[in-house]
């Protein structure tokens, strides 16, 4: 984890757009008037959804909206690695570099990112892509994993990652999930046990007698 500080180059101002503002109002309505600060994390997240990253003017705005000391918003924004404090590309790649992914080849994925996207935390010149290394994404069973925007791309190889970057650069949609087509964390190549379909149709279940089953009340005459 690198030291998290505000970006050196900040925009002049920040304002929520109409769509974000609707969600902002939803969150503010959840908390009592003197506890508005409880909404700080959702609101920081909305800032990030709108702009891609959290800027200083946005922190200032939230402090004002939530009646919170400035430094308290800054504390939250710098604490959670989920908040980007530096500008990101339209598509942001988060490569997991923690042990299971590393053992399954995330080093090679990082090389791909460095070659295709450039330096960490630095968007490409066209502003399309940026990448960073993150700690465990919690999908170790499908390692290596890269989170592209809001979705996980699992079981990647350098080739499959490059294919996804190609698609992004062509402006096409990419399918999230496992690159080798497995369902969630099911075994590669499908299940090898518990494959008998009769297990699942209820036919194997013997009728049971419950000794203390309550006697149904006689129907009202």
């Amino acid at each position: 984890m690198s030291t998290r500080r505000l970006h050196h180059d900040q925009p002049q101002s920040f304002a929520f757009n109409a769509a974000s503002m609707e969600t902002v109002r939803f969150w503010l309505a959840k908390y009592p008037a003197d506890r508005q600060r409880s909404a700080v994390i959702p609101l920081l997240w909305l800032v990030q959804k709108q702009e891609g990253w959290v800027s200083e003017p946005a922190i200032r705005l939230l402090a004002q909206m939530l009646d919170m000391p400035l430094v308290r918003v800054l504390e939250v924004a710098t604490f959670y690695t989920m908040f980007h404090l530096h500008p990101v590309g339209r598509h942001h790649l988060q490569v997991c570099g923690t042990t299971p992914c590393m053992l399954r080849g995330s080093e090679a994925l990082k090389d791909v990112c460095a070659r295709r996207v450039g330096a960490k935390h630095t968007p490409t010149a066209d502003g399309l892509l940026s990448w960073e290394e993150v700690e465990c994404l919690g999908a170790c069973v499908n390692a290596p994993v890269v989170a592209i925007d809001d979705y996980y791309h699992e079981d990647l190889t350098p080739e499959t990652l490059e294919a996804r970057i190609d698609l992004l650069q062509r402006g096409e949609k990419i399918a999230a999930g496992s690159a080798i087509g497995r369902s969630a964390s099911a075994p590669e190549g499908g299940s090898s046990v518990l494959t008998d379909p009769s297990l699942y149709d209820g036919s194997l279940a013997a009728p049971m007698a419950l000794p203390n089953r309550p006697i149904p009340a006689p129907a009202a005459g």
């Binding site: 984890m1 030291t3 998290r4 500080r5 505000l6 101002s13 200083e56 200032r60 705005l61 004002q64 000391p69 400035l70 430094v71 308290r72 800054l74 504390e75 710098t78 604490f79």
Partner: protein, 713 residues
Amino acid sequence: MDKRFRAHCMAKILIDDDEIDVPGEYTLLQACEAAGREIPRFCYHERLSIAGNCRMCLVEVKGSPKPVASCAQQVKDQRPGPNGEPPAVVTRSALVKKARAGVMEFLLINHPLDCPICDQGGECDLQDQAMAYGRGGSRFDENKRAVADKNMGPLVKTAMTRCIQCTRCVRFAQEIAGVPEIGAISRGEDMEITTYLEATLGSELSANVIDLCPVGALTSKPYAFNARPWELSKTETVDVMDAVGSNIRLDSRGPEVLRALPRLNEGINEEWISDKTRYAVDGLRRQRLDQPYVRENGALRPATWDEALSRAASALSGAPARIAALAGDLACAESMKAALDLLRALGVANMDCRQDGAALDGRGQRQGWLFNTSIAGIEQADAILLIGTNPRFEAPLINARIRKTWRAHATAIGMIGEQVDLTYPYAYLGAGPRTLQDVAQGEQGFAQILKNAKRPMLILGMGALARPDGHAILRLAGRIAAACGLVRPTENWNGFNVLHSAAARVGGMDLGFVPGEGAMGTKAILEAAGSGGLDALLLLGADEVAIQKSRAVTIYLGSHGERGAAQADIILPGAAYSEKNAIWVNTEGRVQYGQRAVPPKGQAREDWAILRALSARLNKPLPYDDLFALRKAMIQDHPSFGAVDYAPGANDAAQFRPAELGKEGPLDEALFRSPISNFYFTNAIARLSETMAACSAAADAARAQSAKGAKHG
């Protein structure tokens, strides 16, 4: 039921096999201290909330598999032994020793070993506790982390690599000072303490974080690299920067006062002092009057004591009706007593200790000019009405006490005066006398709150009294006190309070340093001096009065060459507050003895001694030759000076008739304005202090910045 009146529930606990009874809500750390054990700590502080993040206070609790942080667990939550024995805590076992050594080793991993160049050296908790509880060496041979230093303004110097993240400063700013501007950003190894974008701390109490910091991360900027604690002479004395009379310790080396530190006094300043108290001391070495001067051909020239005294004597030997005297805001009781006796011997009745013209009589009921609730008593209050005062500037420690009360009990606070940020919310009732009148007539909602309160109080500031209709305002306030039952002798409660802004004021009032019958007060004296109605004017350190081209011979007796001395014809160099043994009476009426830390500068003498010499020149020798005789005479004439460090509080409330204070009269339409527009420049010493100038500039810049931000926002 108000939790202030709830009985403590005692609990038994075994500390190293000693059974003791402590209140159940005590923490284990407090219980260990009650049993006489010393528990090391960094983040724990009695007056701050509990953080529990330094882990230095680990103790062993029987039944717990691991050592526990004793600051973060309460006695009442401990589990009894298997046979119902009281819970047992061990502070002296091998496990505890090892735990402390381990925590110490971890804390030192990222702490630089730069004690030789660190200003905290010699008074550093980390240094002391490393010696007492740490291992001999470290097993860590990786790189230490380094942290960029942060700007926190002109007072607090930072060396953030030394920070051990105890968060005392964060909690102080949030809880005591009420300016939540310090925070801990980022996390883990990257955690750093900073203000938002390294802004200057916007508090009058900010420098207390230096005392709180257990390491050398936050140190004193003006005092940086000046001295080591062991080379300083320490003098316990009292502060004169405001009327609170904070207890301080002056640290001096040779003839110079290097710093002021707070001294514990639960009744007054607890363990805090304001930034002005702490840092105006560098004004003690600038523009000092170190020899007598006389004016010749329009310019002041150095003179001998003999010449200056004889000139002063001849000026004062004229007609008594054409002589007047004014005492300044820092004057000690002894100098005022000596001046008073001299003036009386000369038959002079034109004198005043109220440079601002506050409408307090100085005769009759002493409670009429005191802070009767007492500062500690504020914590009992459940409704507070502030009238024409900005306690944040006039008495930052009283403001901190009000904030403490508000935090603990959500006290109802009403304000009539300027709408300023006091660090706690209040009901803003209005800006001027008209609102006060509404409250007095019971038409204002807050009057009902005062009436229904158990412990109501009002605080009357100089912004309401130092104005032409001050007497009528005082009468109104007194009527509110009477009508709302602010004075309750049977309950030992007196809720009528005058908040002074000058250290000398209550002493002067107690002595009766006010105009005699039909004589001139401050305003009349100044007009007479300008219009030629006076022959001689004695200024006793009076620097806050503006005389338009005085035609009287002006004698200035004081310590600093500032406003008062600039308009003087004869200058008699006196001693500053750090240079004399003297008495000041704070706004509560508490008589406190100041001690001399350093000798007066050059040929300067203690003020009372100068007046004694002057009296001999006038052939009216004062009847005392030393300070003790003077004090004896003072106590004899004014018995209130005999009770040292005693705040009368509500003890004489039965004789108090608040409704008789002041005079009926027409009310002015003018709004109340605090007498202090710039907190950092309230007296000659502070105005001459470079540190105070830097603070004032930083505060102005911060204000301009926030105004700009508001415009953009």
